[in-house]
Symmetry: C2
Subunit: 229 residues, 2 copies
């Protein structure tokens, strides 16, 4: 197999003839940890972008549906498949990739960091979570993609089961509020937030509390899967 300047992120790169060389998929994988929205980045190992940080991605495979591609990328990085993924745009300026004409389709994915063990593909030196307001300079237009993904996530926040994918199985309302604040980038009023969530009627109490902290123990909730439209 010849060196492939863009498949640095692959664990099992496909033979080049199975790829569409001018069309890639990039994934903005978002997670919520330490009250912060984080994005999963990989550091290239070898190739023209050695040492630089980038979104995980891949060329579109000729025999795989476009919409399945982000799951392929995620499977290689995390070993999981049943996650929330949404397309947020196609990016295709002539000079977005400096050495070749490549159009990319951006997807964002929502997972819980820590729930999965990350694998480092061949072509990658490191895989690491970064807070979205501490993202380093990325290759190509990847910083733009991160911003576009977050804008889309903000718009989807009220109409898609975002929390269900970014929060642990059981969580407190304070955690959920922190998640909303991280996504929207602004503080929320506690009383208004709780009323709004209550009106959605998508949570149910577990009956348990989180008594790991040294003060009043908050109630734990979970999503009522039957009520997520």
């Amino acid at each position: 197999m010849t060196f492939h300047p863009f498949s640095q992120t692959l664990i099992n790169p496909s033979p080049e003839e199975n790829l569409i060389p001018s069309l890639s998929v990039d994934c903005v994988i978002l997670g919520f940890e330490d009250d912060q929205l984080k994005v999963l980045l990989i550091q290239h190992h070898g190739g023209p972008k050695d040492g630089e940080w980038a979104l995980p991605g891949d060329f579109v495979h000729k025999n795989i549906d476009l919409e399945s591609m982000p799951y392929e990328v995620l499977k290689r990085l995390t070993g999981i498949e049943d996650i929330f993924v949404d397309q947020f745009g196609a990016f295709g300026a002539c000079e977005r990739v400096d050495y070749r004409r490549i159009i990319t389709i951006g997807y964002y994915a929502l997972i819980s960091p820590g729930k999965y063990e990350l694998k480092i593909g061949n072509g990658a030196k490191k895989v690491q979570w970064f807070a979205v307001d501490r993202v380093p300079c990325l290759i190509f237009d990847h910083n733009e993609l991160v911003e576009a993904a977050i804008r889309q996530l903000q718009m989807d926040l009220d109409i898609k089961p975002i929390g269900n994918n970014l929060l642990p199985e059981e969580f407190t309302l304070t955690q959920m509020q922190k998640l909303y604040e991280a996504i929207l980038g602004e503080k929320q009023d506690t009383r208004n937030f709780r009323r709004k969530i209550a009106n959605l009627k998508i949570l149910k109490e577990t009956g348990k509390v989180d008594d790991s902290a040294p003060h009043r123990a908050p109630k734990l909730y979970q999503f009522d899967q039957s009520k997520l439209k």
Copy 2:
């Protein structure tokens, strides 16, 4: 130049080596006429889809930004450039095109039918407006693209200057209401609609009326360009 199975819509097809053969752009060109939302379709002439109806589109040109491609398509069909265009998604199921793997990026465009003279490209038999609820069976997944474009348009209706592009320079509030009804697919209450539009403060009276009809002459309005956010 060899025959190119997909560039039926081109007036001046580019040499094949300037195209990205696995990546196309399709345009859902929408207009408003006779109180109906209409979409512009072309009928293929020659090639594997001879006689069938399709969205106008083109392969992505290697030396043209992706986001400029819909303008290229529109320029060939209508000779105009300054119109509203928005990307609504990338479509890439393996079997969406029956004879080859082609991913397409969908754009919708808004123009006033009748304002422009349509050109018939070589590769096309006809160019024709169809009411969106009377769209014939189209090639590939183009019917899906039309529906996706309209869904996107519905979501954009309140946040983008849709009317500014689909209505004539001067128009009545009834016309505008009919446009909203056509896009949303449901009747609007006249009083509520007028109050809503008034609250937006994006229109100004022209002082003129339309006295072409045999009853009370409605006032003519225009968009106040300085107030379109």
